[in-house]
Amino acid sequence: MPRTVGVGFLFVVALTACGHFKGSPSPAAEAPARSAPDVQLSSDGQTAVAAPDTLPATPPAEPPPAAGSPAAGLPATGGPTAASPPPSPAPAPAKPAQPQTAGNGNPRGPRGPGSPAGGSSKPLAAEQHGAPAAAQAAAAQPVAKPPASPPLDLAGLEQRLKDTHAIGLFTKLSLKNQVDDLLGAFRAFHGGQTQPPLADLRQRYDLLLLKVLTLLQDGDPPLASAISASREAIWALLADRDKFQKIQMG
């Protein structure tokens, strides 16, 4: 009997130990429980996409529960519940995150569109401000151009014309004849001997300049552009009586 009692006692102890041992496996079960939530997350998420999002979120969220694992008894029952809260919050942020993207029209609307729209709005504002600025710049340029023409180096242009190889000797001499003819016409105009209309002189001047530019534009483009840029300045010298006389004196 005593043996039977002893064996029974031992059996009870063993059962108790086994019951107590189940408590320890529960922590071991916690490990599967931890992985279980992950698995559940993947399964609960039913959207495999949510799993990766929740995975990073759950690990940080789980460590506290793992730290809170001291309530080891809870894990067994609380594991799912505790695991469910992380998934629920995790999906909650994850799902809201996607809805936000969908509904982000409002939040990101300001961001997404905000960046583009903001960018567009800023450019728009910039354009709105830029348009007048460009208009002002365009208005300022013509004002700036007239002062740019004054630097006229008549002697320099004459020397460059003499030295250029773009025009042959006969052509240079022929051009010089025509320039002399035009200067004679201006001399007569300013002397009052004859009165060719200034418009006629301007036409002859333009035609002669056109000939020179035609001859130079292929062989000596820099000189052609320099002469073209000095067109109005040269005309101003020719049309003004005092300036013209100074040129003749010089």
Binding site: I167, G168, L169, F170, T171, S174, L175, Q178, K211
Partner: protein
């Protein structure tokens, strides 16, 4: 054996270069005459022949059949006369 060949090749190259240079000068002068004729308002599409009559005195034949006497008169003016 190789030296005569070298001299011959060099001479030929020099002659060809001179001819090319002369041709370039000739073309340049033809363009000069053509521009001069055009500046006087006379037609000439292309100079096919320019005969030198003297200093600053030429007879130019154009491809379109026009012929001109281009010269510098004693007053220093370039004159283009249609022949």
């Amino acid at each position: 054996m190789h030296r005569p060949i070298y001299v011959l090749v060099s001479t030929t190259a020099a002659v060809l270069a001179a001819a090319a240079s002369f041709g370039a000068d000739d073309a340049s002068f033809s363009n000069d005459l053509k521009a001069t004729i055009a500046l006087q308002g006379m037609p000439c599409d292309q100079i096919i022949e320019a005969k030198r009559n003297g200093d600053s005195d030429y007879t130019a034949s154009c491809k379109d059949g026009n012929r001109y006497h281009v010269f510098v008169n004693p007053k220093g003016r370039v004159v283009v006369q249609k022949l």
